[in-house]
């Protein structure tokens, strides 16, 4: 509707005064003096219009130029043609295997970033230990060779091939020997490839050698049963386990697999059924297995033989000479143990860690007497993980010394580092005309040889493995070769004149050999990752007990020789094992499960023994054996270590492994002795105090619980009377008051249950967490300053037993005179995601807040680093970024390097300096799981989401899930009577329940 109203703006307009009419003609009420400006001041001033324009032009130009500086943009280029199987942001999983452990490799945008145990390999799942978890970093190791080398110079593969083939042909023509010196090869395809190579060069032969070998077991089984194999142990069938210095949960044979078996009779599920095995450990040094034993008795290495003789006598009633006469404690324990073993005939196993044939033969005799074969020990489906033969390598050296060998290839073999007699190796090598290493780096041996043909990492390779009878796994590449390397099998085939590539070779080998008679196809195997052909039925084994007299004599003389000076026990550390992964920063920073030492090996001594030698904390000691080799090592006070013994880890002291691992610790391999054809890891040496001090980098420096109830323990007998013994909820007996509002958590409530009886303390969860969450490795000095960044740790506490009492307070322990009897507990500790989190209330900027799903969130971007939250955390699980670890050359471990950064998980941001971080309960995995369920339009199922730590735990000690789902595994576990919450009485309401530690001890 049109309006004919007219609004007037003033009385002048209304009245239309003449002045108004006059003014309203112009646009402006007063005229603008344009003319004046133009005619007078404007153009005639000293800065006329042109100058103004010049200035304007210059200014604009300058600003434009200044703005032209390129900002440091990192170009992200999307896939032009997207590979079908890769969706950015979505991980792909490939089945593969690491040393026969069937694994899934998680890849993102073509980069492998994490290994996980293959969950579908139920019953055969070997799990992933710390070294498997950490091996992902080896792929991106910048210390590796980037191309083949000949006489120290880079060379092309073609040229190298010419050199090699010339040498091979020359050897063949001269009728000289060709040797492939390798660590154990159980891959059927590799064996076939070597056979193919041998066809062309008939003098070629494979020499399998292990730095830490199981020759003793192989030979003993050859002698006893005519089968030179390492048996497959079934700890899950054993009710009574006696181990004499065998670290079977850690480094002995297949620790992860044994852990699964062992825990199946000890975890909460087994306990609920009223069943728990008993484990007795006799050993000198404190091993991971020893810390988990129900009864642990410290014995010297020289007492291992006499102890087994005594055990044999007690079980069979025979009277072999040389039975244990010293060590009253061990003798007392032995009587009980023998009784128990006899009662558990057929459900018992005795294992010995020694590599001495006599000890292993006697152990076989005991196991035969206990009817273990066919139940707890399986000789028909043996383990093929360790076939290294010490004698074979010795005869290779002899052969070479005679000048019979013209060509030698070294594969996964580094004798110039880990063979005890370096001089013999050097002498032998000098006689060989052409020496080549397949090492991926210029290691101690490779750098001394003629040529290096660097091998692929296993994540770049095709292959397979046959870790035990009837069980085959596949190795498939998950990335294109990172450097100009070539797979060994490919090289061998090429040199043998075979034109097929190794992928086709493996495929053909499977299709023509392994899959014959199976319904599976090659594709099926690639998907599942393994092929299980079923077990061979058990056969019976007889044992000729009459040979034992000679065995006992050998044992007696060995025992006497060992007892000469201080007895030395050489062992493999959980992290570095034999030292092959010596450049792996994750492993160097993984605290030893027992000593909590990182970045070093050391001389572990009983505190009382150290005192008697005048040694203390931070002292240095010189260890010298009669061959003249000596090393100076820092002293570690190790409660539980047998008096008069010292334990030293092998695998350290590498000099040419790479940036992270060079000169970390000291090499103890030269102490190893070759006796009667097997390498002996027990020896004898002189200890003298060395001058100077050395501080070991330990992540835990206080070792007892000071009588606090943070660890709750009970015995199996008491557990059977009352499953909730010593657990109990504080809130049952106390009234609690709450200052805080109660919030509903209607959706999910993420919690964990941790079974202290299942956790062995191995630390594979720590490495898994590091890899998953991009946790910085900070190095030795920073660990000394107590600044390691691990989001989760495993607290290890000692209680010293004396006179039937258990002491946990430092002040009391100081006055004890016996530090051999120690009971140990491992407690995984990470953010407890408290409902009433003390960290949340004190953060001034709300950088850490609670989620409606019960998680304690950490918003890195909001944190400005007052560290108040860390101070106020009763569990001390928060970690502060003291430095800019990803951009600080002092921390060149992996985060700082542009190339090694490829290992980072893109789902987790790397944190800047000055920011707090801590366990997020793998929130990225929770989110991914929820999203996946949402996309699939279903509700989340229990088990859809697995955390890095819990999926790495072979023992299932960490159970994660939704407490709002009454049927979830975690809800059920938390209803267990054994559950308690750490520091419950301060009412922070932690979200992680712990289950009491139950020990199946002898009741006095």
């Amino acid at each position: 509707m049109d309006s004919n109203k007219k609004y007037w703006k003033g009385l002048e307009e209304l009245q239309q005064t003449p002045a108004f009419v006059e003014k309203s003609k112009g646009e402006f009420s007063e005229s603008i003096p344009v003319e004046d400006v133009l005619s007078e001041a404007g153009l005639s001033t000293r800065t006329p219009r042109r100058d103004f324009l010049k200035a304007l032009g210059f200014g604009l130009g300058a600003v434009t130029l200044a703005a032209c500086e390129r900002t440091p943009a990192h170009k992200a280029i999307p896939y032009l043609i997207k590979p079908e199987e890769i969706t950015p942001g979505v991980p792909n999983f490939y089945a593969s295997s690491f040393k026969g452990q069937s694994v899934l490799v998680r890849t993102r945008e073509g980069r492998p970033i994490l290994l996980e145990a293959n969950p579908s390999a139920v019953g055969l799942n070997c799990g992933t230990d710390a070294s498997a978890q950490a091996s992902i970093l080896d792929l991106y190791d910048t210390s590796k060779l980037k191309a083949p080398k000949f006489k120290g110079a880079d060379i092309s593969w073609d040229e190298l091939d010419t050199h090699v083939v010339t040498a091979l042909d020359a050897a063949k023509a001269a009728g000289k020997q060709i040797r492939i010196v390798s660590s154990t090869i159980n891959s059927p395809s590799t064996i076939a490839a070597i056979a193919r190579f041998t066809e062309k060069y008939p003098t070629a032969r494979l020499v399998e050698v292990e730095a830490v070998s199981y020759s003793g077991i192989l030979k003993a089984n050859q002698n006893s049963f005519g089968k030179s194999v390492v048996p497959y142990y079934r700890f899950d069938n054993a009710d009574v386990i006696v181990s004499v210095a065998a670290d079977f949960l850690g480094t002995w044979l297949s620790g992860e697999e044994h852990t699964q078996q062992y825990i199946s009779n000890r975890d909460y599920k087994s306990l609920q059924k009223g069943k728990m095995s008993r484990h007795i450990q006799f050993e000198g040094g404190m091993s991971l297995t020893g810390t988990n034993a129900d009864v642990r008795v410290a014995i010297k290495p020289s007492e291992e033989g006499p102890l087994l003789i005594a055990l044999y006598n007690a079980i069979t009633g025979s009277n072999l000479p040389g039975a244990l006469s010293s060590n009253q404690k061990a003798q007392t324990a032995l009587k009980l143990v023998a009784q128990e073993l006899q009662q558990a005939r057929g459900r018992a196993v005795v294992v010995a860690g020694s590599n001495e044939v006599a000890i292993q033969t006697l152990t076989n005799a005991i196991n035969v007497a206990l009817q273990s074969y066919g139940s707890t020990i399986d000789l028909d489906n043996p383990s093929y993980q360790y076939k290294g033969d010490d004698e074979a390598f010795a005869s290779f050296l002899a052969e070479a010394n005679r000048g019979d060998v013209d060509v030698a290839f070294f594969w996964e073999s580094n004798p110039l580092y880990n063979y005890p007699n370096q001089e013999a190796v050097k002498a032998a090598l000098s006689k060989i005309k052409f020496k080549l290493s397949f090492s991926d780096r210029e290691d101690e041996t490779a750098s001394e040889l003629d040529a290096i043909a660097p091998n692929h990492n296993f994540l770049e390779s095709w292959g397979d493995a046959h870790p035990r009878g009837g069980y085959y796994t596949i190795v498939q590449p998950t990335i294109n070769p990172v450097y100009n390397t070539r797979q060994v099998e490919h090289s061998l085939l090429l040199w043998a004149g075979e034109k097929t590539d190794y992928y086709t070779f493996v495929k053909n080998n499977w299709e023509q050999q392994l899959l014959v008679g199976s319904s599976k196809t090659w594709k099926d195997v690639l998907q599942t990752g393994f092929e299980y052909k079923g077990d061979q039925p058990a056969t019976t084994y007889s044992f000729d007990f009459s040979t034992l007299g000679a065995v006992a004599n050998t044992l007696a003389s060995h025992s006497k020789a060992l007892a000469k000076d201080v007895e030395v026990q050489l062992y493999q550390s959980i992290a570095l094992k034999d030292g092959k992964q010596g450049n792996n920063a994750y492993l160097h920073e993984l605290p030893d499960p027992v000593s909590k030492v990182t970045w070093d090996n050391y001389a572990a001594l009983n505190p009382k023994f150290a005192e008697s030698l005048g040694l203390g904390e931070n002292s240095l000691v010189e260890v010298a054996d009669d061959s003249g080799y000596k090393v100076t090592l820092p002293v570690l006070m190790q409660p539980g270590q047998a008096m008069g013994t010292v334990s030293i880890a092998l695998g350290y002291g590498r000099t040419k492994v790479g940036k992270a691992g060079n000169n970390v610790g000291k090499n103890a391999y030269p102490f190893v002795k070759l006796v009667n054809g097997t390498l002996q890891f027990n020896t004898t040496a002189k200890l003298t105090k060395a001058s100077g001090n050395y501080e070991l980098a330990q992540t835990q420096t206080h070792h007892t619980i000071e009588g606090r109830n943070i660890i709750r323990e009970t015995s199996f007998a008491k557990y059977k009377e009352n499953p909730g013994h010593n657990a109990g909820s504080w809130t049952d007996s106390h009234k609690t008051y709450d200052l805080w509002n109660k919030y509903e958590q209607p959706g999910h409530k993420w919690v964990m249950a941790i079974d202290l009886n299942a956790c062995t303390g191995c630390g594979s969860c720590i490495v898994a967490c590091n890899v998953e969450n991009n946790i910085p490795v900070v190095g030795r000095d920073e660990v000394r300053r107590r600044r390691e960044m691990h989001w989760m740790r495993i607290d290890r506490y000692y209680a010293i037993e004396q006179g039937g009492e258990s002491f946990t307070e430092e002040d009391e322990i100081r006055h004890l005179d016996d530090m051999e009897n120690v009971s140990v507990v491992h407690q995984p500790m990470m953010c407890q995601h408290c409902e009433h989190a003390p960290c949340e209330t004190v953060c001034p900027v709300l950088a850490t807040v609670h989620s409606s799903e019960g998680l304690n969130h950490m918003a890195y971007n909001r944190c400005f680093g007052t560290r108040y939250c860390a101070n106020n955390c009763p569990y001390k699980v928060r970690r502060f970024n003291w430095f800019n670890y990803w951009n600080d050359s002092r921390f060149d471990n992996y985060l700082n390097n542009e190339f090694t950064q490829l290992v980072l998980n893109p789902d987790v941001v790397s944190r800047s300096r000055g920011v707090m971080e801590k366990c997020s309960m793998c929130i990225q995995r929770i989110q991914a799981g929820k999203l996946k369920a949402k996309i699939e339009k279903r509700t989340l199922k229990d088990g859809d989401i697995k955390l890095a730590c819990s999926s790495a735990c072979s023992a299932n000690a960490i159970i994660f899930g939704d407490a709002n789902d009454p049927n979830s595994e975690v809800s059920k576990a938390l209803k267990n009577e054994r559950v308690y919450y750490v520091l419950e009485e301060i009412n922070v309401q932690p979200g992680i329940g712990y289950m009491t530690k139950v020990r199946n001890t002898y009741e006095a």
Binding site: G865, N872, K876
Partner: protein, 493 residues
């Protein structure tokens, strides 16, 4: 500040011969109007070197990260917060002297309030540097304030004592600064009136146009009283809130309700000790002996003794409550303080804070200038250790023994602390060089001429006890504050 009826038993607050208003102005402005002497230069160079060390240490920390300090995963605060609380504590005496003593009409404060307030401001500045420096990402320090922002309108956490702290410290600093500056106005005007040239122009601007009219003085008095009223609660609140940084946490040794009064007493204790340390030197070097007299020294020593005793009782109460609580963590925390690895820190604290101030029960010690000076430093050493004991020994062994750790300072820790002392003295020395170190206008109120007339009148009226009159006349000679004639004049009457 106005003079009031005063007992004739009071000793005069200003001593010296022929003190006139003009002489007071001359005396006090002597360092401001002349070239500094050698003592000042030596002190200033040392202090400036310290300040440089501070710049370097803090710069290095900012450049590399907090890892430059000796902190670790268990001990997240150590020297940084120890120094922070120490400086805030020292800053307490100024407000107490200027505000609380003003309200209580303690005129003797007039001679020391200016320096004490300056000291407060500089101490709070030093403390504030730690608030920023201890942060992991100091460039984001402004996040502590609830400013409107573009981060999805993120607010601060009003539950956090650190937020309260930021408010408390900034309020305290602002109020102290305003109070101090208002007090300075008439004195700056005096400097202005006596200066020439550029100096005159600068002081003229700084004097905010003070003209000395009655109205100005009246407003000055009112503003002073109002600010005193505002500041008085701050004396209690600031350190109460600082103590809540610890008291509201769950850490044994921190989680204590006694902390607020205990911290306030400790703060006044250390603040007076610092005033004592500074003024004993200043009165000597700058010839202020007539204005800062033995009476002042003794009064401050008495306050130190009283607050030191309160602090001692607090320590003993803590021990008793730890035992009485029956909580094993609490008991261990205190057993660990007494006999743990940091026992030496605890016993240093006990000796310096509890035993040493008790010496002031003896008048000889209380009135001995060298001993007072030494003890004032001992007290501040003790107070530093008190904060160290509370912070480090509580943190280093808390609930889970697996995380127990030791704290070892690095050179940066030491550099930042020593440097902050240098910074403090640099600012203080600049202050006494450019601004009057004693409140000229206020001190003039204490001049004998003001009270003498009134006292003479009382004596003349003849109602007073003879002994008291004798004391007064003796004191006139003793303190040499009046002329012979004046004494004679009194005697004849």
């Amino acid at each position: 500040m106005s003079s009031h009826n005063e007992s004739i038993l009071r000793e005069p607050l200003i001593t010296g011969k022929d003190i006139t208003y003009a002489k007071i102005t001359d005396d006090i402005l002597l360092p401001v109007e002349n070239k500094p002497n050698r003592a000042w230069w030596i002190g200033f160079i040392l202090a400036a070197l310290g300040a440089l060390l501070w710049v370097f240490s803090v710069g290095y920390t900012f450049w590399t990260g907090i890892g430059a300090w000796g902190l670790n995963k268990t001990v997240g605060w150590a020297w940084d917060i120890t120094d922070f609380v120490w400086w805030v504590g020292i800053g307490h005496a100024g407000t107490l002297i200027s505000a609380v003593l003003l309200i209580f009409r303690q005129n003797w404060r007039n001679s020391i309030n200016r320096s004490a307030e300056a000291m407060t401001i500089f101490a709070v500045i030093c403390a504030a540097t730690y608030v920023v420096a201890h942060m992991g990402r100091p460039w984001l320090a402004y996040w502590i304030f609830p400013l409107p922002n573009q981060f999805g309108s993120l607010w601060v956490n009003f539950n956090s004592p650190l937020v309260w702290d930021a408010f408390a410290i900034s309020t305290y600093f602002t109020v102290s600064l305003v109070f101090w500056y208002c007090g300075l106005l008439p004195d700056i005007a005096s400097v202005r009136d006596r200066a020439a040239g550029l100096k005159r122009r600068i002081y003229s601007i700084m004097s905010f146009g003070w003209n000395g009219s009655v109205k100005t003085w009246q407003r000055f008095e009112i503003v002073s009283l109002i600010l005193a009223g505002i500041s008085t609660p701050l004396v209690l609140s600031v350190h109460t809130i600082v103590s809540m940084d610890f008291a509201t946490s769950v850490i044994p040794g921190w989680h204590t309700t006694i902390f607020p009064p205990y911290f306030v007493a400790g703060a006044i204790f250390s603040g007076f000790a610092m005033v004592q340390t500074l003024l004993l030197v200043m009165r000597k070097v700058m010839n202020f002996e007539n204005y800062i007299t033995m009476f002042h020294i003794e009064s401050m020593n008495k306050i130190i003794m009283a607050t030191g005793s309160i602090v001692g009782i607090a320590y003993l109460t803590e021990l008793f409550i730890a035992w009485y609580s029956g909580s094993e963590y609490e008991m261990y925390a205190f057993a660990n303080r007494i006999a743990g690895p940091y026992w030496w820190a605890y016993w240093t604290m006990m000796t310096c804070n509890v035993i040493s101030p008790q010496l002031f029960w003896f008048k000889k010690i209380r009135t001995s200038i060298p001993i007072s000076w030494v003890l004032s430093i001992v007290v501040n050493i003790g107070m530093w250790f008190e904060r160290f004991v509370i912070i480090v020994t509580s943190l280093h062994r808390d609930y889970l023994p697996s995380s127990w750790a030791m704290f070892y300072p690095t050179w940066t820790d030491v550099g930042v602390f020593v440097g902050s002392v240098g910074l403090f003295f640099t600012m203080f020395l600049l202050f006494i060089r450019f601004l009057p170190g004693i409140a000229i206008a206020e001190v003039k109120l204490l001049l004998k001429s003001a009270s003498l007339q009134q006292k003479s009148k009382l004596i003349k009226e003849g109602h007073l006890d003879k002994g008291q009159v004798e004391f007064f006349t003796n004191s006139l000679t003793k303190f040499d504050s009046v002329t012979e004639e004046e004494i004679k004049e009194l005697e004849t009457k």
